[in-house]
Structure formats: structure tokens, C-alpha cells
Amino acid sequence: MFGDHYRTKVPIGALAGASLLCLSAPALAAPADDLATIRDEIMKLRQDYEMKIKDLEERLQKAQADADAAKAAAAAAQAAQSTVAAAPSAAPPPPPTAPEPLPTPRAPAALNALNPVIAAVLNGMVTTNSRNPDTARIPGFSLPEEARNVPRGFSIGESEVALSANIDPFLFGSLNLSFGNDNSLSVEEGYIQTTGLGGGFTIKGGRFFSGIGYINDRHAHDWSFSDAPLPYRVFLNNQYGDDGIQARWLAPTNIFLEFGTEWFRGDAFPAAGAANGGKGTVTAFVHAGSDINDSSSWLAGLSYLHARSNARDVEGDSFTGKDDLGIASAVYKWAPGGNPVVRNLVVSAEYFFGHEDGVFNGVPVDYDHTGWYAQAVYQFMPRWSAGVRYAQLRTEDLDPLLAGSTLDDLGRIPRAVTGLLEYDTTEFGRFRLQYTHDMSDIKSADQLIFQYTVIYGPHGAHRY
């Protein structure tokens, strides 16, 4: 095989060499004067070409200048066209009957070019309370400071600034700074989140509110009432937020079905002391929801939180041990024909079951807590809504050794009834008047809150 190839190649190479020799033969044979003529001719050719090149260069420069002038004069879109038209080597101009222009999409809407989306939530309230919130307690429960009633008189509650943006094609970032009444600045949330993992998966990491329950991961300004319902106050210190990681998966079904799990540091109530080497709290939740018809829809959820406490100190009470909390949530929304602007109704209820097992102030404890609330807010005409809420708590199976301690419910069932009247200037401005008859302590108390909440800046859409 190889030999055959070699043999056929040799004659071709020889032939090529021979023909080259033949071609160059006349030049080699030429006399000296002929050489001079050729040299002259070459010089002439060169000059000729140089002239032509110079001419071309000049024309190109002129074209460039024309194009630049046109660019400066015409709009950005037309500039490109004039460059083409002015270029000497351009194709013949398009026929006078211009073809139907291709639809060119404009850039899709960006909320704020490359700046992060900045939104401010301003909150202000004035409160009267027949009982001093600083000394108020709820028998049977350790009440952390944040879970107390709002202070009497004027206050700004929690005003916040949120900065969020896509970081790159894969990540989204959000930072939420909250200003307290005492001028303290705190990072309420600061997390990164995947945006396009696909397959229904989303992963979030940083500091954020847990996805358990219904209202836990919404900011206070997004709640239907001015304060958190009793169970959120005593079980989660208003809402559970901590440093950690969250994974969620949205099932590929026509009804909404979402599963999620989280792993937190375990520094926030009911956890404390960042047990397990700073991985002290785990949660799991499932949410399901769908439309019933054009006017009504529902969302339901089951959540579980397991926390560990290392010497948790709440107002002088120490607890070390385990905390388990289960939450069942249900939400129903109604808006005639799917139009919530004129009238709409939101009914929601959540049931909490808590179990604590450990050592409380040196005494071994193993007891259950339960709590629930139900609320309804009805917008009866554009801008105006009214709402009611009922909440109650219960302590069970407490060790007699703890009689008289914080955990002693004193034979009472703490409960509260709340009424609400709300006026919205637009979806960005809101005034609320909220009255609570609070029977959570031995002596009942009355609380009246007048509150405004406004949002400005490009604020994202509200969640369900």
C-alpha cells in the first residue's frame, strides 16, 4: 500500500519541477537591456499602484469623515446606515421601495438600569396602651424583648431600606436594613439566591426569614395587622430569621406544590447559643395551593422547626435543651372575578404546636405549648378595609416544680381580640387604626394603634 503511494508521487514531483524550470527559462536567458526595460516597467507599475493606493486611501478617509459627520448629525440608529451608504465599496443602494422593517424589540424593561433596586419603607405609629408594654408578660411563656407590645406614644416602629438586584445571570442579592426606635440599625435580611437553576430548584444563603408558616417570611409591613399575632410573638419572637441556607423545590404540577428545607445557625429565639457548632436549627416545610374558581384561591402549609438552645437567656430565665415546633397554615382569598381592587377578602388561620425538652432554670422540663389565630380582612370598597383577628395560647403538662415561674400559666388561657380599619391612599400608602383587647396577662388591657406605612422606590410585587 505505502509503496504504491510513494511510487505514484515521484513522477508528479518531477513533472512539477520540470515545468517550473521551463517557465523561468526565458527570464534567465534575457539580455541586460531587456532587464532594464523590465525594471522600468516594474517601477512604472509600482508608481501606478502607489497612486491608486493613495487615491483609495484618500477616498477611504473621505468616506470615514463623511460617516463620522453623519454619525454626529444623525440619531444613533441612523448612524450605522449612513456609514454603509457612504463607504465606496458598499453594495448598490437598496431599492427605493424600502422592505417592510423587521420588528426590532426594544430592550426589556429594567427596573433601574444597573443600579440596585432601592426601596424604602417608612413606618410610624402612635399608641395608647392601658398597660405598660415594658412590664407586660404572658403567663406560661418566655417573652423575648422584641415580642413585646409596641411602645406607648410615638414611634417609627420598623422603618427599612431594601437594596436588591441581580448580581449576575445566576444570582440575585438582597439586603434589608431596618431602623429601630432606639436608632439602632440591624440587618434584617442579607442573602443571595439562585435565579435560574431550573428544575424548580431555588437555593438561598445568608441571613433571611425562614419559610415556615404563612407570614413568617414576609416583612412586618406586609402583614395584614400592625403587629404579629400571639403565637408568632411567643413561639418565634415575632418571626424566625437567622443565618443559614435554604433549598426549595417547586413540583412540576398544575397545582402549586412546594417543598423546602433550611439549616440555620441557631442564634435566634427559640434557639440560642448557636448549638451544634453553629448549625443548631433545622426546618422543613411544604406549601400547596391552587385556584378554586376565577374568584377564589387557597394556600395551605405544614412546617416543622427543630431548634437547640445553649443557655438561652430570656429576661433572666435560662433554658438549655431542644425545641420542636409544628405549624399548620391555611389561607383563603376571594376577589370577585379576580379583581381585588374594589372588593376582596383574605381569611387565614394558623395552628402552632410546640414542645420543649431540657433544663429550665435548673429544673428538668418536658412540656407542650399550643397556640392558634384566625383572621379575616375584608376590603369593602376601594381603599377601605376592615379586619378582625382572634388569637390564643395554651401551656400543658408543666412540672409542678415550675409553679410560679415564667412558664406557669397561672391557670389562664392567654388570648387577644383585635379589630382593624385601614385606608390606603394607593397601593404605596396606608393608614391603619387597630384596637386590641388583650387578655394575655392576668389583667386585661386595651391597646390602640394608629399607624402609617408607605413604600417608595421601585417596590416589588406583593406575594400571595
Binding site: P105, A109, I255, L257, D294, G338, N339, A461
Partner: protein
């Protein structure tokens, strides 16, 4: 409770069985759902997020919508911030990269049409304004042709094997639609120059198409419901510059337009605005048939 849970899971699994369609379309408004079906035929399976009786500005980001958007290959929406109060929240919760803003599967019809009424001043004090201009482009059927072409390109980009089907369906639609536009325009000739009152600024493109003259709008600022004081001003304006009738879309609050109609002794006309907005507006063609019929009847009366 337990049987309910099992039932729900079974229902969910049943619903998860993949449909034998090539493209899952999540249409924000009925007109785009109908147009997607015109172009895609049986090559697409269309879910329409809103009904003809629903205000597309104000929709709750319901769980059912999130579930549908999660499985979408393309979202076909108006854009120009019409859906800003609900769509971003839905898309963010789906983690579906196909319909994220900027992705080929995020189709915005308004991006292909020259928008009118672009606000000179961006300030929330001006009401619910759309920075890119008036988004209600479907009130002029000529815009549908432009969008149909762009939508065909997008379908073909996402589903190349069926590109020829989309192209031939577009050609068929274009022929029928151009004939229909000619018919509507001829029918609507008597409407030229007729002065009207509008409820929300939803009809700008139709006003341009038919030559209707808007005297005044019943909203002092876009999206802001009129106060009694403002309605008195409207009456004042109409006494100086009378109008023939007042129009509103089916989802809008009827009270302001009925009040003005009664006060000025003119008709209040409910317009379909989109497919399904009135019982007669069953598809894209009957939408404009009904629109023209209602306007002609009001102009006569």
C-alpha cells in the same frame, strides 16, 4: 384531612402528566393567549393567566399562577410594566430560567410596537404611570399583525422543528386579519371625529386607529379613582366640549362612568377590551367585531 391530602397529591400527580404539546405558553392576557393559539395551533398548549373580566394591572400572585409559570417554555405578555404588580413576583418564585426577563422565552408584545403617551415626568405623584408608554396596544388590531410576526419568530426560535407550521399559520392569519382590518375600518368610518369620554386611558391606540376624539378621562391620574370633586370638573369640561358617549372596559368600576353618563345624558358603553371581556368577544376576530358594533350603536344612539 388525610384523605384530602392523599387526594391532593393524586390530583397533583395526575396534573403533572406531560401534555403532548411542543411549547407550553403562559399568556398573561387573553388577547395574547388567543394570538398564541392562532400562530401555534396544536403545536402549543396555552394557559391564560387572566380572564376578560380581570384588570391586568391588578392581579394577585396566586399559587395557581406560580405553578403554571413554573412549567412554561414561554411567557407571552404585554410588558411595558402592565404586569409589574404581579408577574415579577410569580417569575421570581418559579425559578424557571426560560421566562426570566431577558430570556428568549420572556416575550413582551409591547416591545415591538411604538408606544404612545410616554410620560414626560416619572413620578408616582402622577399616578400609575408606565415609564415606557401606554401598554394597551391591543385596542388597535394593526398592532396585532406586528406582534403576530414577532411571536412567530420567537416560537420558531424556541421550537425550530415546527417553524414551517408557525410560518404558514402566520401567513394564513395575516391574510384573514388584513381582510378583517379592512372590513372594520370601513365599518367604523362614521366614528371618525366622534368625541368620547374614557374611564381609564386604555383606548389610546383605538382612538388613533378609528379617529375617535377623547375629550376627557374619568381618572384624574392613571389608576387613581375619581373623587366627587374631580367628577364635577369632568361635568364642567363636558358642558363646554360635549361628548357622544363614555366607554369603559368590562372590569372597571361602573359607578363613575354611569354617574357621568346620567349627568350628561349620554350612553355608557361597556367595551370588551380583550377576548372574553363581553359574551360576544369570543376570539380575536369577534373581539373587534363586537368593539366596532358597540361603538357604532352608541354613536347612533
Amino acid at each position: 384531612m388525610r384523605t384530602m391530602m392523599i387526594g391532593a397529591v393524586l390530583l397533583a400527580l395526575g396534573a403533572a402528566t406531560p401534555a403532548y404539546a411542543n411549547l407550553n405558553v403562559f399568556a398573561c392576557e387573553p388577547e395574547w393567549g388567543a394570538l398564541s393559539t392562532e400562530i401555534g395551533g396544536d403545536k402549543v398548549s396555552v394557559y391564560t393567566a387572566t380572564t376578560g373580566g380581570q384588570d391586568p394591572h391588578q392581579v394577585q400572585a396566586r399559587p395557581g399562577l406560580i405553578a403554571r409559570a413554573r412549567n412554561a417554555d414561554i411567557s407571552v405578555c404585554t410588558g411595558a410594566e402592565l404586569e409589574i404588580a404581579w408577574l415579577p413576583a410569580i417569575v421570581a418564585q418559579t425559578s424557571n430560567p426560560k421566562i426570566r426577563p431577558g430570556a428568549p422565552g420572556a416575550f413582551e408584545a409591547s416591545a415591538f410596537v411604538t408606544l404612545l403617551e410616554v410620560p414626560a415626568r416619572l413620578d408616582r405623584a402622577e399616578g400609575d404611570i408606565h415609564a415606557q408608554g401606554n401598554p394597551h396596544i391591543q385596542t388597535d388590531p394593526r398592532n396585532l399583525l406586528i406582534v403576530a410576526k414577532a411571536l412567530t419568530d420567537r416560537f420558531s426560535h424556541l421550537d425550530p422543528p415546527n417553524a414551517s407550521t408557525y410560518a404558514s399559520r402566520l401567513a394564513d392569519f395575516t391574510t384573514r386579519w388584513q381582510a378583517a382590518i379592512a372590513k372594520w375600518t370601513a365599518q367604523a368610518a362614521p366614528l371618525k371625529g366622534v368625541p368620547i369620554v374614557v374611564s381609564h386611558l386604555s383606548w389610546r391606540y383605538m382612538e388613533d386607529w378609528l379617529g375617535l376624539k377623547r375629550v376627557v378621562a374619568l381618572e384624574p391620574k392613571p389608576g387613581v379613582p375619581p373623587s366627587a370633586g374631580y367628577l364635577a370638573q369632568v361635568v364642567d369640561t363636558l358642558q363646554k366640549t360635549p361628548a357622544k358617549f363614555v366607554i369603559r372596559s368590562a372590569y372597571e368600576d361602573s359607578r363613575p362612568s354611569l354617574f357621568i353618563a346620567d349627568k350628561m345624558h349620554m350612553q355608557a358603553v361597556v367595551m370588551p377590551f380583550t377576548v372574553g371581556g363581553t359574551p360576544e368577544a369570543k376570539d380575536l376576530f369577534s373581539l373587534y367585531d363586537d368593539t366596532i358594533n358597540r361603538l357604532l350603536a352608541a354613536a347612533k344612539g
